[in-house]
C-alpha cells in the first residue's frame, strides 16, 4: 500500500511504532549510556501520567537457590509466550482478523468498478447504485473490523510483551542471585549489566510488535496470493515471476549489506562515545600534557569513521527504498501492458485489473517489511542465546537438593585440612587446620595476599574448599541451606557498601520485618544517633549512590549497625581501614567491643592494634598458618608476628611520637 510516500522502507518505522517508543529513544540506559533524566519540556506530561499509576502491590516472585524444573528447561521464544498462552491465542485471532479485513478494500473496489463498467456498457445503471452502496457499506464494515481488531491486537501484544519481559527480568535476576561470587569476579560488570538490560530489551520490540507484524505480513501475503490467483491465474503467475525474483534478490542483498553497515555504525558510535568519555574523564591529564589539539584531530578522525559508516548505510538504504519503489512502478507497467492486453482480449475484467494494480503494493510491502524486521528477529534470537548461556551456568557454590537448615549455631568453627584456590590448579590456601571456639575472637593477620580474607570467605561459603571441610559446630556447612548459614553469620565488609535507599533500608537489610525501634537501637549502639537525628528525614533519609552524603566513618558505622540488626552468632569482620577521623574511629572501636561480646568472631586485621584485641591471633602467610597464639605469646615467641610487631612499633613511633 505504500506506493506514494511510503515505500517499504518507511512503513515499519512510521507505523509500526512511534519514534521514541521502545528501543527508539535516545540514551538507552540499559546499554551503558547514562540516562540524563527526563527533559524538562516533557516533565509535565510525565507527571500527568504518574497520577494515574495504581499501586502495584508486592511482587510475588520468591527466591530460591534451587532452580525449578521450568527454570531448567531451555528458554525459547515459544516457551516464553506459552506461559501466557491465553494472550497469545487472542493475539493470533486478532492478527488473522486484521489481515483478512485489510484485504476487503481492493476486492470491493474491484467489484464496484466491474459493476459500474458493466452497467455503463449495458446502459442499465439503476440497479447498480444499490450495489455500489452495499460495497461501500461492506468496505466501511471491513475498516471497522480491521480497526477494532488492530486496537485489540496492539493492546494484547503489548500486554503479552510486558508480561513476558517481566517474567524474563525476574527469571534472569533470580539466576544472577543464585550465582556465586566467582561469577561476579570473573565476569565483567558491563556484561552482567547488559544481560539484564540490553539483552532483555532487545526482545521488547519483537514481542510487542514484531511477531504480530510477522504474522500479519505473512498472512497478508498468503491472502493476496490466493486472491490474485483466484482473480486470474495467468496474470498472477506473470506478476509473481516478473517481480518476486528481483525483489527477493534485492532484499537478500539489502539484508546482508545493512547488517554489515549497522555493525560498522554500532562500532563507530561506540568509538565516538568512548573517545568522548575518555576525553572528559581524563580532562586533567589531557590538559596537563597539552593534548587538546591532538585530541581534537583524533576525535575528528573517530567521528569521521562513524560518518563514513553512516554514509555507507545511507547508500544501502537509498538503493533499497527507491529500488523497491521503482520495482513497484515497473510492476504496474507490467500489469498495464500484460493485463491491459488481456482486458482488450476479454481474458480479464477491468475490475480485476484494478484489483491487481491495487493489490500489487500490498503484496510488495510485506516482503520489504519482513526483510527489515528480520534484523529484529535475529537480534532477539541472539539475545535469547546469550540469556540461555547465562541460565545454564551453575552456581559454583551449589545448594544440595532439599538441603536442611543449619540448626542454631553455637559458634565452633573448624577448618578441617582446608585447601583452596580460586583456580583449583593454583591453591592460595594449603591444608589449613584450625579451630575457633564458641565465643572466641580470632584475628587473621598477615601480609597482603597471604590468604587471610580468603579464609573468611570460606566460612560464609562465598567459596567452597577445593579439599577439606569447613565445619560449624561439627556440621559440614556444604550440606545446609545457604540462607540458614548466612543468616546466622554477620559480615562486615571492608568497604561498606550502601545501597541507594534510606538509612533504615540499609540497616534493616539483614532481616525482613525489622522494626524501626530495632533500627534505632542499632544506630544507638554504634553511636550514630546524633548524626542520624541531624539528617533531614532521620532514618528515612535517602543516602545517595555509594553513600556519598555520609562520611566514610559514618558509612562504616552504618555497616556495623547492619551487622547488629542481624544478631549473628558468628561475626566476620574485614577490618575497615578507611581514613577515618578520630571520633568515628573511637566510636567504631566502642561499637566493635559491643558487637564482639559473646560471639564467635573472625577479624581480618590490617592493623596490629586491632589484632591485639583478639583472644588469639592466626598469622597467615603464603596460604599457610605460620603461628597461632595470643599477642603476648607470639611476641615472646619471637617469630614472624614479633617481627611485624617490631616494624610496626618503630614505624608508628616515627609517625606519631609527637
Amino acid at each position: 500500500m505504500g506506493w506514494g510516500g511510503g515505500g517499504g522502507w518507511g512503513g515499519g518505522g512510521m507505523m509500526g511504532g512511534p519514534p521514541g517508543g521502545g528501543r527508539g529513544s535516545p540514551g538507552n540506559p540499559g546499554s551503558g549510556l547514562p540516562f540524563a533524566g527526563i527533559p524538562s519540556e516533557l516533565q509535565d506530561g510525565v507527571d500527568k501520567l504518574l497520577v494515574k499509576e495504581p499501586s502495584h502491590g508486592e511482587p510475588k516472585a520468591r527466591f530460591s537457590y534451587q532452580m525449578s524444573d521450568d527454570d531448567k528447561k531451555e528458554m525459547t521464544l515459544r516457551s516464553l509466550i506459552v506461559q501466557h498462552w491465553g494472550l497469545g491465542v487472542w493475539a493470533l485471532v486478532f492478527v488473522c482478523l486484521v489481515s483478512l479485513a485489510n484485504q476487503a478494500g481492493p476486492l470491493l473496489i474491484d467489484k464496484g468498478t466491474n459493476a459500474i463498467q458493466g452497467a455503463l456498457t449495458t446502459g442499465h445503471t439503476s440497479g447498480v447504485y444499490g450495489k455500489i452502496a452495499l460495497y461501500a457499506f461492506l468496505f466501511f464494515v471491513a475498516i471497522g473490523i480491521s480497526g477494532t481488531a488492530q486496537h485489540s491486537q496492539v493492546r494484547t501484544t503489548g500486554r503479552l510483551a510486558a508480561r513476558v519481559m517481566n517474567d524474563l527480568r525476574i527469571k534472569i535476576f533470580s539466576h544472577l542471585q543464585r550465582l556465586s561470587l566467582d561469577f561476579y569476579t570473573e565476569e565483567k560488570q558491563g556484561v552482567i549489566m547488559s544481560r539484564m538490560t540490553a539483552d532483555i530489551e532487545n526482545l521488547q520490540q519483537l514481542l510487542q510488535d514484531g511477531l504480530a507484524q510477522f504474522a500479519v505480513q505473512g498472512l497478508t501475503m498468503i491472502a493476496i496470493t490466493v486472491i490474485l490467483f483466484a482473480l486470474n491465474v495467468k496474470l498472477a503467475l506473470i506478476t509473481c515471476l516478473a517481480i518476486v525474483p528481483v525483489l527477493t534478490a534485492l532484499s537478500l542483498w539489502f539484508r546482508a549489506a545493512s547488517e554489515r553497515g549497522y555493525q560498522r555504525v554500532r562500532d563507530g558510535i561506540a568509538n565516538v562515545l568512548a573517545d568522548l568519555s575518555e576525553s572528559l574523564h581524563g580532562v586533567r591529564v589531557v590538559t596537563a600534557h597539552n593534548r587538546q589539539r591532538h585530541n581534537v584531530l583524533h576525535h575528528r578522525n573517530v567521528v569521521g569513521s562513524y560518518r563514513d559508516a553512516n554514509f555507507y548505510t545511507a547508500q544501502i538504504a537509498a538503493i533499497y527504498g527507491p529500488g523497491t519503489q521503482m520495482l513497484s512502478f515497473l510492476g504496474q507497467v507490467v500489469l498495464l501492458g500484460v493485463g491491459g492486453t488481456m482486458v482488450l482480449h476479454h481474458q480479464l475484467s477491468l475490475g480485476a485489473l484494478t484489483a491487481f494494480i491495487l493489490y500489487l503494493n500490498r503484496f510488495l510491502q510485506p516482503i520489504t517489511l519482513l526483510v527489515q524486521q528480520y534484523n529484529m528477529y535475529q537480534q532477539g534470537h541472539a539475545s535469547i542465546t546469550k540469556l540461555n548461556t547465562l541460565l545454564v551456568q551453575n552456581p559454583s557454590v551449589p545448594e544440595d537438593d532439599g538441603a536442611p537448615d543449619l540448626p542454631k549455631i553455637e559458634g565452633n568453627i573448624h577448618y578441617d585440612h582446608v585447601t583452596f584456590g580460586y583456580d583449583p590448579e593454583t591453591p592460595v590456601l594449603h591444608d589449613i587446620d584450625v579451630t575457633i571456639n564458641p565465643g572466641e575472637t580470632v584475628a587473621f593477620v598477615g601480609p597482603t595476599g597471604a590468604g587471610k580474607s580468603t579464609m573468611a570467605k570460606l566460612v560464609t561459603r562465598f567459596y567452597d574448599p577445593t579439599e577439606g571441610h569447613v565445619l560449624i559446630d561439627g556440621h559440614d556447612i556444604r550440606h545446609y541451606s545457604l540462607q540458614s548459614l548466612r543468616r546466622q553469620l554477620g559480615v562486615v565488609p571492608q568497604e561498606p557498601f550502601l545501597f541507594a535507599g534510606t538509612v533504615r533500608d540499609n540497616i534493616a537489610f539483614a532481616r525482613e520485618n525489622v522494626s524501626d525501634d530495632e533500627v534505632r537501637e542499632a544506630i544507638r549502639m554504634v553511636g550514630l544517633m546524633e548524626v542520624v537525628e541531624r539528617l533531614p528525614e532521620e532514618i528515612d533519609t535517602v543516602v545517595h549512590e555509594r553513600g556519598q552524603s555520609l562520611s566514610s566513618g559514618e558509612r562504616q558505622l552504618i555497616a556495623l549497625a547492619r551487622a547488629f540488626v542481624a544478631h549473628p552468632r558468628v561475626l566476620v569482620l574485614d577490618e575497615a581501614t578507611s581514613n577515618l577521623d578520630l571520633l568515628s574511629e573511637s566510636k567504631i572501636e566502642a561499637a566493635l567491643d559491643l558487637l564482639l561480646e559473646g560471639r564467635t568472631a573472625i577479624l581480618i586485621a590490617h592493623r596490629l592494634t586491632t589484632a591485639m584485641k583478639a583472644d588469639r591471633i592466626v598469622v597467615v602467610d603464603e596460604g599457610g598458618i605460620i603461628e597461632v597464639g595470643s599477642h603476648e605469646q607470639l611476641v615472646d615467641a619471637g617469630g614472624r608476628y614479633a617481627e611485624m610487631y617490631e616494624t610496626w612499633i618503630s614505624h608508628a613511633e616515627g609517625a606519631t611520637a609527637a
Binding site: G12, R23, G27, S40, E58, Y262, H289, V491, Q494, A652
Partner: protein, 657 residues
C-alpha cells in the same frame, strides 16, 4: 592550544589543523577529515534555527540537490496514477490507440523516479550525517577549550548523553524538516490533480486527511512522556542491577537475595505498567491513523462510483484516486511528526548551545609569551583561591618560594589546599588573588601550553587512556622511542610488571582494556610525566597507592631524576616525604610550618597527626588493592551499546522521503 585560545570563538574550527601547533603541543596524528566549514552562530539573540543555519548552509550543495531531486521524483510519482488512468480510459475502455506508448512512458518515468529518489535520499542522508559530523566536532573542539571551572560543574555522563541524543534530534530536524516540506508540496500537486478530475470527489476523498494529521500530532504528544517514562524506569532497573552487582558481597552475606528480588520485582512491575500504558496509547491511535485513509477509499468508492455511474468521471478515475489517497497519507502523518520533532530539536539545541556559549575562563592573555629555557624558580606570592564565589578561600595568603632544583614536600590534612596549589602552578585555575610566578614571570602572562609544558604534574587519580601502555607513557611525548619509554617506566618502577603482562608494552589498558591496580596505574602516570622531562615536577599524592616496598625501590631513580629539577611533592607518607629537602605543613590554605622532617616532628603537633592519618590511609589503599586482586572493577565501557533504536527512528523518517 596557544593558537586555539588566541583565536576568537567563532573561527576556532577553521582549519585548526592548518596552523602550526606550539612547540609544547604533542601531536601524533594527522586529520584524515576536513574540519567543519562553519560554526554555530555565536549571537545568542538569534533564534536557534538562525544560529544553526551556517552549519546547514555549509552543505548547501548536496542539500539543495537532494531537495530538488526529491521534488522531481515525487512529481513523477504523482504523474503515474494519472497516466495509468489515461491508459485504462483511452485504450482499454474506449479503445483509442495502443498500450505500448503508455508502457514505454511509464517505464522511463519509473526509472527516472527511482534514480531521482535514490539521489535525493542518499544526498539527504549525507547532509544529515555531515551535519552530525560538524556538530560533534564543533562541540568537542569547544569542550577541549573549556577550563576546569566548567568541568567541575558538569557531570561527564550528562555531557555524553546529551552529546548523543541532542545532536541527533537537532540534526534530524534540520535535514528532514525541509524534505518533508517538499513532500507536502508534492501532496499539493497531487491534490491539484484530484481537483482537476473532480472537485467534489477530491474534497470527499480528502475528508479524513486532516484527522490523520491531528491524530498523529495528538498521538506523539501522548507518546513522548510515556516513552521517556519507560526510559527512566529502564534506568531504575539498571540501577538496581548495578548496585546488586557492586554490592553482591553484602547481598550474599546477609542472605538478602529475596529482598533484592523484591525490589527488582517492584521496579519491573512499574516498568511493565509503563509499557502497557504505551501499548494502550498506541492501540488507540495507530488503528485510527492507519484506517482513516481507508475510509477515504471507501468514500471514493461510494461517491466516486455514483459519479462514474452518472458518467461525471471516467471509471479509471476511481483507480487513480485510490492511488493518490495512499500517496497523500504519508505527508500528512509526517506533518504532525515534524512539529513534535521541532519542539524536541529546539530543546536539544538549547542544551547544546548552553555548552557552546560557555566561554573558556583560563585563557592566554593578549601578548602572552612562551616560557622558554625555564630555570624552575617557583614563587607563590600571597596567593588566594576559591573554587567558586559562594565558597570560602581554599588557598588563603599562600606564600612560597622554591628555588631552582629544590625538592619540597607539602603536607597537610585533607582539604587543607595542597592539591589546589599544585593546580594553580600548572594554571588549571587562575588565582583569585596574588600571583603565581615561574622564573619571576606571572603565569598569567605566559602561554598556557608553555606553562603546562614546563610543569609536569602527576595527578593523584592516575587516569589511563584505552590505548597501549606504550602510548599511555608517551602521552605527552608521542615522538619518544621505545628505549626512552622503557627508561621512564624503569625509573617509575613500572618496567617489571609491564614486561610480565602478556603483551608487555603493547597491552591495552584503561576503561576498555586490561585493568591495572591503582599502584600500577600510578607508576605508569609517573613514567608518563618523567618522559616529558619537565624542569618543574609536581607529584600530587602520586605514590599513594604504590606499595611502600615498591616505592622504596624507585626512590633511587626518582632522586636522580629530581636532581636539578624543581619538585613539589604532595604526600602524607613518611617515606615519600623523605625525598624532599624541605617540608612545608599546610593548614587552612596557608603554610603554617616550614622546616625539615625532624624539626617539624619536634615542634608542630599537627604534623605528627597528619602523618599518622596518612599511615592509615595507606593501609586502606593497600588492603583495597589486595581485595581487588583478580577482580575487574572497571565497567565494561562501551562495548555493548545498542544503538539500533536510534537508527530505527531515523530510518523511519528517512525512508518515507
Amino acid at each position: 592550544m596557544t593558537i586555539l585560545s588566541r583565536r576568537p570563538t567563532e573561527d576556532i574550527d577553521l582549519g585548526a589543523d592548518f596552523e602550526a601547533p606550539s612547540t609544547f603541543e604533542p601531536i601524533a596524528t594527522s586529520a584524515r577529515y576536513r574540519a567543519p566549514k562553519a560554526n554555530v552562530d555565536p549571537d545568542r539573540a538569534k533564534s536557534w534555527l538562525r544560529r544553526a543555519l551556517p552549519v546547514v548552509l555549509a552543505h548547501k550543495g548536496i542539500f539543495i540537490t537532494s531537495l530538488v531531486m526529491s521534488f522531481v521524483g515525487l512529481v513523477i510519482q504523482v504523474q503515474m496514477p494519472k497516466i495509468l488512468q489515461n491508459a485504462i480510459t483511452n485504450v482499454i475502455v474506449e479503445h483509442h490507440g495502443t498500450l505500448t506508448g503508455y508502457v514505454v512512458v511509464m517505464s522511463v518515468l519509473a526509472v527516472f523516479a527511482g534514480f531521482a529518489l535514490y539521489i535525493s535520499r542518499y544526498f539527504l542522508m549525507r547532509t544529515a550525517y555531515s551535519i552530525e559530523f560538524d556538530l560533534r566536532n564543533i562541540i568537542y573542539t569547544h569542550l577541549s577549550r573549556l577550563s576546569f571551572p566548567f568541568y567541575d560543574r558538569v557531570q561527564s555522563g550528562q555531557l555524553i548523553s546529551r552529546a548523543n541524543s541532542d545532536i541527533r534530534s537537532v540534526q534530524m530536524y534540520l535535514t528532514f524538516a525541509p524534505s518533508i516540506m517538499v513532500q507536502c508540496s508534492v501532496a499539493l500537486v497531487a491534490f491539484g490533480y484530484m481537483l482537476s478530475i473532480n472537485v467534489p470527489l477530491a474534497l470527499v476523498a480528502m475528508l479524513p486527511m486532516p484527522f490523520v494529521y491531528f491524530l498523529g500530532v495528538e498521538m506523539r504528544k501522548r507518546m513522548f512522556p510515556v516513552s521517556w517514562l519507560i526510559q527512566a524506569r529502564l534506568a531504575d532497573v539498571a540501577t538496581i542491577v548495578d548496585e546488586n552487582t557492586n554490592g553482591v558481597r553484602v547481598v550474599k552475606s546477609f542472605a538478602a537475595e529475596q529482598r533484592e528480588l523484591t525490589s527488582l520485582g517492584k521496579a519491573a512491575d512499574r516498568l511493565q505498567w509503563s509499557y502497557i500504558k504505551d501499548a494502550d496509547i498506541r492501540a488507540t491511535f495507530t488503528p485510527a491513523v492507519q484506517n482513516l485513509p481507508q475510509l477515504g477509499l471507501a468514500l471514493v468508492l461510494l461517491f466516486g462510483g455514483w459519479l462514474a455511474l452518472g458518467r461525471h468521471i471516467p471509471v479509471a478515475a476511481l483507480i487513480s484516486f485510490s492511488l493518490y489517497i495512499v500517496m497523500l497519507q504519508a505527508p500528512f502523518q509526517m506533518l504532525g511528526q515534524i512539529i513534535m520533532m521541532g519542539q524536541r530539536a529546539r530543546a536539544s539545541a538549547g542544551r547544546i548551545y548552553e555548552i557552546l556559549d560557555q566561554p573558556p575562563t583560563v585563557v592566554d592573555r593578549p601578548g602572552a609569551v612562551d616560557l622558554v629555557d625555564c630555570r624552575g624558580d617557583v614563587r607563590f606570592d600571597s596567593v588566594e583561591f576559591k573554587y567558586n564565589d559562594d565558597n570560602p578561600n581554599v588557598v588563603n595568603g599562600f606564600d612560597l618560594h622554591i628555588p631552582p632544583g629544590e625538592t619540597v614536600a607539602l603536607v597537610g590534612r585533607t582539604g587543607s589546599g595542597k592539591s589546589t596549589t599544585a593546580r594553580l602552578l600548572a594554571r588549571f585555575y587562575d588565582v583569585t588573588g596574588g600571583r603565581v610566578l615561574i622564573d619571576d614571570k606571572d603565569v598569567r602572562d605566559l602561554t598556557l601550553t608553555s606553562v603546562r609544558g614546563n610543569v609536569g604534574i602527576v595527578l593523584d587519580e592516575p587516569f589511563l587512556f584505552s590505548v597501549s601502555i606504550r602510548d599511555n607513557i608517551a602521552y605527552g611525548a608521542p615522538d619518544a622511542d621505545i628505549d626512552e619509554i622503557v627508561a621512564a617506566a624503569t625509573a617509575a618502577g613500572a618496567d617489571e610488571f609491564i614486561r610480565e603482562l602478556d603483551e608487555g608494552y603493547d597491552t591495552v589498558v584503561g576503561e576498555r582494556g586490561y585493568t591495572l591496580s591503582g599502584g600500577q596505574r600510578q607508576r605508569i602516570a609517573i613514567a608518563r610525566t618523567l618522559l616529558v622531562n619537565p624542569p618543574i615536577l609536581v607529584l600530587d599524592d602520586a605514590t599513594s597507592a604504590i606499595d611502600v616496598q615498591v616505592e622504596l625501590t624507585i626512590h633511587g631513580a626518582l632522586r636522580r631524576l629530581m636532581q636539578g629539577r624543581t619538585t613539589l611533592i604532595i604526600a602524607h607518607r613518611l617515606s615519600t616525604i623523605s625525598l624532599a629537602d624541605r617540608v612545608l605543613l599546610m593548614d587552612n590554605g596557608r603554610i603554617i610550618a616550614d622546616g625539615t622532617h625532624s624539626e617539624l616532628m619536634d615542634t608542630v603537633p599537627l604534623y605528627g597527626e597528619v602523618l599518622a592519618q596518612g599511615e592509615k590511609e595507606d593501609a586502606r589503599r593497600m588492603a583495597e588493592a589486595a581485595s581487588h586482586a583478580g577482580e575487574s572493577p572497571a565497567p565494561d565501557g562501551f562495548g555493548e551499546f545498542d544503538l539500533d533504536g536510534n537508527r530505527d527512528e531515523e530510518d523511519g523518517i528517512g525512508g518515507t522521503l
